[in-house]
Symmetry: C2
Subunit: 347 residues, 2 copies
């Protein structure tokens, strides 16, 4: 029924069926207003009858646009965070008729890097958004050299459009809330030292301490990788230490949750003995006990914005100068934070 043999229908088949030229078929599909209603209808009928779908590769070869963007990710993202950002990207991209190819850079292997770089140079991709600050390089070329529009999400790689949150501001604001609650000694659970967000958040914290003057303590825990397990490990280290801190700020909700559970296991009361603050605002933050105070990032919106910025750059005639877009987080103080416990220092 649908096709003569079982090869897919091509534009010529449709043209023949409709009694018009291939040019008319092409136009009837791409810019219907340019073709007389009657022919338009005949073309449409033929298309339906033959089950015609234009071949994407052939189109791409002519038009030099793939309507596909690359999304580069990295393992270290917490799944609940990552999934929402991805949904946001998908929502916006698919609405614009773009497909999204996903590439995980977990391995940093030479093979994977070459794949990435090749993709950028092979014309399969109209642009890319990085949820990773890893720059793949192969054969002396980097992902930047292809000259495609690039967006870095939750990071600000040079030469890309950056979509960020005001994480530094929020970090400082959160710290001041803790100060207001009487906390003077803070333990910070970091992410990997080279991570963009880690650098920004720790930087904001360190500067705020500097500005706040003496008599305050800030400790940065060893290691760190955003994970639940790390949070638990950091808690064990804390328990084995002098335990001067009365509040803990984590670089992620996951580390905060890992920490929270582990210190409570050891009989430490949260928030009575210790306050805990996470970062991200994942759903699980509502489902620990006590509920986790956190800095909520607009995860879905980050994805949407990233996609929008990329699409705008793709549609621009000339490559636009790198832009920068800042979304706002929300400080959400709940069960896991409270007044600092009274100690020796109590006058």
């Amino acid at each position: 029924m649908d096709v003569k043999d079982n090869r897919a229908a091509r534009i010529g088949d449709v043209a023949r069926e409709a009694g018009v030229s291939t040019a008319t078929v092409s136009r009837a599909l791409a810019s219907p207003e340019q073709v007389r209603p009657e022919l338009r209808a005949r073309v449409r009928a033929a298309v339906a009858k033959l089950g015609y779908t234009p071949n994407a590769a052939a189109r791409q070869l002519r038009v030099k646009r793939s309507r596909t963007v690359l999304v580069v990710t990295r393992k270290r993202w917490s799944a609940p965070f990552f999934a929402e950002v991805l949904r946001g990207l998908d929502a916006e991209l698919s609405a614009a008729g773009y497909a999204m190819v996903l590439a995980n850079m977990d391995s940093e292997g030479q093979d994977r890097s070459r794949q990435l770089v090749d993709m950028m140079f092979s014309g399969t991709i109209d642009g890319a958004v990085f949820l990773s600050d890893f720059v793949a390089v192969a054969d002396g070329r980097s992902v930047f050299d292809a000259g495609l529009p690039l967006v870095s999400l939750c990071a600000a790689m040079e030469g890309t459009h950056a979509v960020l949150t005001d994480e530094d501001v929020c970090m400082e604001r959160a710290l001041h809330q803790l100060f207001a609650l009487g906390h003077r000694d803070i333990l910070y659970l970091p992410g990997p030292a080279e991570n963009y967000n880690e650098i920004v958040r720790w930087g904001a914290l360190a500067r705020a301490f500097e500005a706040a003057g003496p008599g305050l303590g800030l400790t940065r825990a060893e290691g760190g990788d955003f994970s639940l397990d790390y949070g638990a490990a950091a808690a064990r280290a804390f328990l084995a230490s002098e335990r001067r801190a009365t509040a803990v700020m984590a670089v992620s909700d996951e580390s905060a949750i890992g920490f929270l559970n582990t210190v409570q296991d050891a009989g430490i009361g949260v928030p009575d003995d210790l306050s805990v603050l996470g970062f991200d605002g994942i759903e699980f933050a509502d489902f620990c006990r006590p509920t986790l105070s956190t800095i909520r990032q607009p995860r879905f919106e980050l994805g949407r914005t990233g996609a929008r910025v990329l699409l705008a750059a793709i549609d621009a005639d000339a490559p636009p100068a790198p832009t920068r877009h800042v979304l706002h987080n929300i400080l959400d103080l709940r069960g896991s934070t409270g007044p600092a416990p009274r100690r020796l220092e109590t006058s």
Copy 2:
């Protein structure tokens, strides 16, 4: 340096630079053993000098292979589950040189369906794996009609290769463990009624009860959607009820965790008053208190296997008959399950 103007180098440029024909360049790249070492070296040098990357669209047009597969997802997946499966898919696909395009079918909208169907017919895709049991239909054609190799992951859609787990077996095994602990009344927290996994798990449970004889109670909670929030809502409903159940089995860890937290807030002791069992084995199951008993699914391996099965089907000369692959879950009983509390019935 790299290119004459700033247009990308084409195969002809390389041929000229190396002093050979385009055919030789193509061969030197695709099947080096067919070309004399000297020429091979000259070609390689020219490629490096010009920074040549073959144009994917042109290649695709000839070869009729895109080395790209589609992954169709749906919102209802728990993020930690979904993310691991995706990593498994990516690991295997990228190792085979395949790219992965992701499409979210959250909306079920007509537009999105058409996009999907068009993709399958436009030659952009060599095959697809479904993490969704939703069948997109548009213009009277479904995603099946393109005749591409298809894999359904954690589901068994007809006409596809299915990659499954022994969830029914594990569900029954878990139930018998609860019986052995003295539980006689079980509350089940379901997923959406039409969901494949829900049907299998609930079916296994219901059958096992039937077989176990009288004197046992099985209640299926209303609604259900895998989520944390649903678990909390079900807990509130439970608290407002007669509370006959001494054990709760949830269709997902997330619902179990939502339930667990909420009943504990109301003063119910877990596992002393009530046992709770989840399903999936996400990381967060280790980080609630008590630790959540669960049925661990091999998430990463599910992804890898799905990819492998798809790639095999793509490489097969003739479309192979649908296959079926069953992976094994692990029943992990921990803090949240214990002996049934003694009640009136205690002799």
